[in-house]
């Protein structure tokens, strides 16, 4: 805005269009990079095809992380740095319920979990709603149903028990975050909210270490599915349960190896991630609650004045975002491991969010997939330097910020300076 208009101020800076210079230097950098990249691909086509497909599959999980961040950003207007730690703690709860035999569940813990979640859910708008006799009956029924679901069947229903327990915990965590840390900060500057999510990240990280320790845990979630579909363990390939795809028709003779290895767990995780993603988009687009959420994110005062319960909607947004965190955490844990590196995933999802556009949900999908691919490409280009996790996503981030700050699909209402 400043540079394009002629300002009355007579200084050397007003004659130079900084914005255009920076943008064009960004374009030049991207072009130079592409010129450098193309011959490298010619050297090792198979490696890049492998990286593209594996990256695509990993990107599905990043998209799930990214959409949780977009959700919070639309609702509360804050970038949720705690999303990774929320993934960690909810997936660890899932792990605990999944690996413990049903007979060993502590009935007191399960009842306390169910009751506190139901109480938080009923008090989403205000504590006064608890006094309503109708909601007391509803809450009692809901608690009984949750506790019943946790003990129904036997060990063979363990997946159901783990899902119910983890979903209940996730909703509880999301509602409690909104109630006790975000709601008291209404009206504070953005920076305060960012720091609050950073504090939450520390708290959840500390709790996870305190309860579950800092050793990586492997969640053998998809082994039943894999056994039925006939994908066997393959010690020879040194990759767990791999699907081999012959790509020789697509590559000429010069490519040394013509097989592509797909981690079967990653394939399943990708499919489930996309299903959850689509379900979420449908919910957001076509249900009343989703419509109310979109309206609230558009203009809170206006939404309130047409009778929407904005506080309850914000709380629900946090609950849903925590559920998305649970889904992403469990899928990531099922395809790789649950470990203390998980909170770092959120820093890979931020570039995906910005690349897709802050307000755009489909943008989160595209951004996640692109970041997944770029990561593995960078690892193939610069092996042994951790370029995939530490460099490439952030270079993309810088380029996006310089060239097109509103992302690929974002609304162009970013405040220009």
């Amino acid at each position: 805005m400043a540079a394009n208009t002629t300002s009355p101020q007579e200084s050397w800076t007003s004659t130079i269009d900084f914005e255009r210079i920076i943008r064009w230097s960004g374009y030049v950098a991207v072009l130079a990079f592409l010129v450098w990249l193309v011959p490298q691909i010619g050297d090792n086509p198979r490696g890049y095809i492998q990286a593209t497909i594996s990256g695509f599959l990993t990107g599905g999980i990043y998209a799930l992380v990214a959409v949780g961040i977009v959700m919070i950003n639309k609702a509360s207007g804050v970038f949720n740095f705690a999303h990774g730690a929320m993934m960690l703690i909810t997936s660890l709860v899932f792990y605990s319920f999944f690996t413990t035999p049903t007979a060993d569940y502590n009935i007191l813990v399960v009842v306390a979990l169910a009751v506190s979640t139901v109480v938080m859910f009923l008090a989403m708008n205000s504590w006064r709603d608890l006094l309503n006799p109708q909601s007391a009956v509803l809450g009692a029924v809901a608690s009984v149903v949750i506790v019943g679901l946790m003990f129904i069947g036997g060990d063979s229903w363990n997946l159901i028990h783990a899902l119910v327990g983890a979903v209940t915990t996730a909703i509880l965590i999301g509602l409690m975050i909104e109630r006790f840390s975000i709601r008291p900060l209404v009206g504070q500057p953005v920076f305060t909210l960012i720091l609050m999510t950073l504090a939450l990240e520390r708290i959840f990280y500390g709790l996870s270490i305190m309860i579950w320790g800092s050793i990586d845990k492997s969640l053998s979630l998809f082994s039943g599915v894999l056994d039925q579909s006939g994908v066997a363990e393959n010690p020879a390939w040194k990759l767990p349960r791999t699907i081999r795809v012959d790509v020789s028709p697509f590559l000429d003779e010069s490519a040394r190896l013509t097989n592509i290895n797909l981690d079967a767990r990653l394939v399943i995780a990708f499919v489930i991630a996309i299903i959850i993603f689509v379900a979420f988009v449908l919910f957001f687009q076509y249900t009343n609650v989703g419509l109310a959420m979109r309206a609230t994110s558009e203009n809170q005062v206006l939404a309130q004045s047409v009778g929407m319960r904005v506080r309850a909607i914000l709380a629900a947004a946090w609950g849903i975002a925590t559920l998305l965190a649970l889904a992403a955490g469990v899928l990531y844990g099922g395809s790789a491991q649950i470990g203390i590196g998980m909170p770092g995933l959120v820093f890979l999802a931020f570039p995906a969010v910005l690349l897709g556009g802050l307000e755009s949900i489909s943008g989160a999908l595209i951004g996640g997939l692109i970041i997944g691919i770029v990561q593995l490409w960078a690892d193939t280009l610069l092996p042994g330097t951790q370029a995939g996790t530490q460099l490439a996503p952030y270079v993309i981030l810088m380029i996006v910020l310089v060239i097109r700050p509103d992302g690929l699909f974002g609304q162009k209402r970013i405040e220009r300076i």
Binding site: F18, L195, E201, G206, M210, S214, T385, Q390, L391, E415
Partner: protein, 361 residues
């Protein structure tokens, strides 16, 4: 600011008095007495406390840099630990490869860090708020990656970079830990005074106007972009000086000293101390480091005993590692909810109530 309140009967008779830092004789005596206390501290305190004070002053300088950026200019940075790393590693490379001494490496590394800060401040032309936080987050990762990988021949990558052979020399004698105290503390005090003075200059007032309303500032003829870049430069300069001091006081450098967590801790120091107050970074750094290095080790045995007895399902070996992030998060969250203006605000209130005693208003 609230410090304008003076005891009754003290009036300004000229403009110099109006903008002076020490308004009254007792202000002057108190501040000079504080310098005297700092001067004699190494003779009365045990050496581990001296180490802690040095660390506090280093982090206070880094947080002061962040304060200039965030508290005065309103631009957020999540990459300040990386700027500290740039200062530390450039000083290390200067003394090891180019034969600089401490006294020449300090300004050179600080200037270099300022220039790196300028590069990552460039997106502030187009974006602000979250977007800028993201750009500086990118700085954090990209800088550390650059130090670890392409610059490995001079920085030794992830290996520690030893600096024992290059201790600061003052008139022919190598400085010991106490000697370093007498270098670092005056430097920090000077930088704090410089930051305090900055707010009384044209640049400082421009910074504050950019923070409060950038459109209005532009309308007043302030070149917002140039002042933002200046803020980034000065802020990175402070971080660079802090990095150099850290490098020479620790004697070894390693990239894991500068993770994202340190950037977050610097932000937390600022919030706890008070954003936008000249003394805020000092209070914040002192509070966070005292809690981390003195209070947590003291509290650890009773708390872990208590937890082991009450919550028996918790594995006791995990408690130690978990308590530091947990306490840090809880303290930060409590400060954000209960006292978002920080300790410096409390300090101002205390000063005012002392000056207008025995009346309460």
């Amino acid at each position: 600011m609230a410090a304008n309140i003076r005891p009754s009967g003290v009036f300004d008779t000229d403009y110099a008095q109006d903008i002076s830092i020490n308004r009254t004789l007792w202000d002057r005596i108190a501040s000079n007495g504080l310098f005297l206390v700092l001067l004699v501290l190494p003779f009365v305190l045990p050496s581990d406390w001296i180490t802690l004070i040095i660390k506090i002053s280093i982090f206070a300088v880094a947080a002061q840099g962040l304060n200039i950026l965030l508290g005065y200019t309103g631009q957020i940075s999540l990459g300040h630990a990386a700027f500290m790393a740039v200062g530390a590693y450039s000083a290390g490379v200067f003394v090891r490869e180019f034969g600089f001494t401490f006294w020449t490496a300090l300004p050179a590394a600080a200037f270099f860090t300022g220039c790196v800060g300028l590069i990552f401040g460039l997106p502030s032309l187009r974006v602000k708020g979250f977007y800028l936080a993201m750009a500086t987050l990118a700085a954090q990762y990209i800088i550390i990656w650059m130090i670890e990988n392409p610059l490995e021949p001079v920085t030794l990558g992830v290996e520690p970079l030893p600096l024992e052979a290059h201790k600061p020399v003052f008139f022919g004698t190598e400085l010991s830990k106490t000697g370093l105290y007498y270098v670092i503390i005056p430097l920090s005090v000077m930088l704090f005074l410089a930051a305090r003075n900055l707010t009384r200059t044209r640049i400082g007032r421009a910074f504050i106007s950019v923070r409060d309303n950038d459109l209005a500032a532009e309308l007043l003829g302030i070149n917002v972009f140039v002042y933002k870049l200046q803020a980034f430069f000065i802020s990175a300069l402070f971080a660079g000086v802090a990095g150099v001091m850290l490098a020479f006081s620790e004697q070894t450098l390693i990239t894991s000293q500068f993770p994202l967590l340190i950037s977050i801790e610097l932000l937390a120091m600022l919030v706890i101390g008070g954003t936008g107050y000249p003394l805020g970074p000092l209070f914040g750094a002192a509070f966070v480091l005292l809690v981390n290095q003195r209070l947590v080790p003291e509290l650890l045995p009773p708390i872990s005993d208590f937890l082991r007895d009450t919550l028996t399902f918790l594995p006791s070996e995990n408690i130690q590692g978990a308590l530091t992030p947990l306490l840090f998060g809880v303290i930060l969250a409590l400060f954000l909810i209960i006292e978002p203006r920080g300790l410096a605000y409390r300090w101002e209130i205390l000063k005012i109530s002392w000056k207008i005693r025995p009346f309460s208003y």
